[in-house]
Symmetry: C2
Subunit: 387 residues, 2 copies
């Protein structure tokens, strides 16, 4: 097969707020080759990722992502890896390229899986896919009382695990302690409790460490992204004193190096990879195998549609011991409507990685129309993008 | 003062080739506040960096760079640092933001310097600026013979140091040895010889190490970017066996963490910072002070106009022991014509950091017109950018 076209669909809710809710817009990628279609999703900032695909070349090491994709051969996984290497080299000085390529790479696995009648996880080298324990991923309430209610609702919905994240966490120590107590109370004594600080402490190890006693008392399983994504020294310093609370991070990784460093230098116990940022399924699987070898647990990161969710599960589908998975709840209508198929917990509350060919998730043509954001990019009077 | 406007000028040569020549296009930034104008330059991919300034918000942690800049107060260096922190947090998930912000940040120092009648290096905390020894920065010739001729020309032009880089280096060991011998022969026995591999060896430590004997024999001062920008382990492994040849790197750093890791973990002897990528002068100066404390030499990285050259010199202007500086030669007419002032070697072949207010370099209005690339970005029927 030859890659004939790569199309981008910028979708958005009518209004986007400053909430840390990644399901408010989406950039869907459609790749066509050999009469087949593959779907992927880039995370985030659709306009900028589109620009990184169509931009004029600045020089040989700053070419648009399209230069390493269009017209290329797609017969097997090695062809995807070859394109990934070319994007890394040819778009070395184009920072956004990794995010753009991530959605394209996903779509290539989807397409290749459909051509072979195999799920993507099998193409990645796994013999079977193990079910995962989903954690409900929600934002902290504005008050501890709201968080208590959210935690109770999650428990009532049958989830065994829940993650609370972002503001107002980090604003004050006493407020954070109230939030942690509320989350544990609402979730009940047996629930797995996860906390996401959303990088609020920058590099301030002491500020983050001040939250540890209340986390230990509330049996928090992981303390996620206390620091900026690349603050390896701060991660390492906190990990050395965090006791029973593991440190988690990695969603910002836009290449396999960053994830490896968080494991090897940052001392995280959980490495969280967003396939829409790290360059897709290939590098994510590399990170999963590295994590497994180092005794670190791999976890997907995803906060958008079920297409991105399926992609995020593939790289560790075959790793039985890596059980927990992020499962966004409270998605915006756009993210819910985007996919024809849904990934829903079974009777025991477990998530199954799709075993249909590719990513196993088709995109709704109606949603592409309903939520479409018209975009036009013109350079030197020539239309580089219009949709 | 209040930041009233931020304007971008996408400039380009009529034709852009795949040569590793960063002077073929440019993104110039103009910031206006308090009746004054400041100039900066982003590196690279103008269209994508413009998009990162004007893009619609995806969510609270994925806002365009404009959200942390427009309307902000600018009275002193702390205001610039506060904006930098806001960009890092509010645009956390917008990968390109660091490159966009870099040019804006430069322009803010230029503007603040003009308001106070002080050169930027003084605002950065230095009492005086020391002259630098420029190295002529050129690409390898296609053949060893061409490289020999380029090296002879550089010597004849009075340079004491020269850097040769990129393809065909890395294509074959014997070819590389011929190139190294030719560069040394042309430069003469006393010239400082620097080699830039342009990341060609990926993570392959053995392939890079195979070039070391010919480098030692030719007294190469540094071996630059043998590996991908974040391949810290490979850098460290090569540094431990490179003997008299120092390893250099850092131009890809788009935050202070990456540069620090190359020093602390990658074992580089020279840390090369591009102010158009790392977030401007502020983080670059932090890296310079960290390097000095660790016995590592700071070097500017720049391959575009004299505006970017001036910016790149400011963060280590006051560090006397850090003598060498990148000085692009063979610039495209666009990069030459862009600035009213030029930074030229003095009678002894030394470069002086401008001591005029700000960056000390004015942009030519004629060049902005001559090389202008018309761009229009429309989203939802609304023009987000037009120039």
């Amino acid at each position: 097969m030859k890659i004939e076209s790569v199309d981008f669909f910028y979708l958005s809710m009518p209004e986007v707020t400053t909430a840390a809710d990644g399901s408010q817009d989406a950039l869907v990628v459609r790749v066509a080759a050999g009469g087949l279609i593959g779907w992927g999703e880039c995370e985030a900032s659709p306009l900028v990722s589109i620009a990184a695909f169509v931009a004029p070349m600045s020089h040989g090491a700053c070419r648009p992502v399209s230069a390493s994709v269009l017209g290329r051969r797609l017969e097997g996984p090695d062809d995807i890896r070859a394109m990934a290497a070319d994007v890394a080299y040819n778009s070395m000085d184009l920072l956004q390229a990794a995010h753009t390529w991530s959605g394209v790479e996903m779509a290539l696995w989807d397409l290749l899986g459909k051509a072979r009648g195999e799920p993507a996880w099998r193409l990645l080298g796994y013999d079977r896919a193990f079910p995962k324990v989903p954690y409900a991923s929600v934002l902290f309430g504005a008050t501890a009382q709201e968080t208590l209610e959210r935690a109770r609702a999650i428990r009532a919905a049958g989830f065994r695990a829940a993650k609370f994240g972002w503001a107002p966490f980090g604003a004050s120590l006493s407020g954070d302690i109230d939030q942690l107590d509320a989350a544990r109370e609402g979730l009940g004594p047996d629930g797995i409790l996860l906390i996401d600080a959303g990088q609020i402490f920058g590099e301030d190890v002491e500020a983050a460490a001040a939250r540890l006693p209340a986390m230990e008392r509330n049996r928090v399983t992981w303390f996620e992204e206390p620091f900026a994504g690349e603050a390896l020294e701060a991660y390492g310093a906190l990990a050395r004193r965090s006791g029973a609370v593991a440190i988690a991070g990695g969603e910002a990784a836009h290449n396999r190096f960053m994830a490896r460093h968080l494991i090897d230098i940052g001392g995280v116990g959980y490495i969280q990879i967003d396939c829409g940022r790290i360059g897709g399924l290939g590098p994510a699987r590399e990170v999963a195998l590295h994590a497994a070898a180092k005794g670190v647990t791999y976890v997907n990161h995803t906060f958008t549609s079920n297409l991105a969710l399926s992609a995020s599960l593939q790289p560790y589908a075959g790793l039985e011991a890596h059980r927990i998975c992020e499962y966004p709840t409270g998605l915006q209508p756009l993210a819910r409507d985007l996919t024809v198929e849904r990934i829903l917990p079974d009777g025991e509350g477990l998530i199954h990685v799709p075993d249909a060919p590719g990513l196993g998730i088709e995109v709704s043509a109606a949603a592409l129309e309903t939520y479409r954001v018209p975009v036009e990019i013109r350079v030197r009077g020539k239309t580089l993008f219009s949709a």
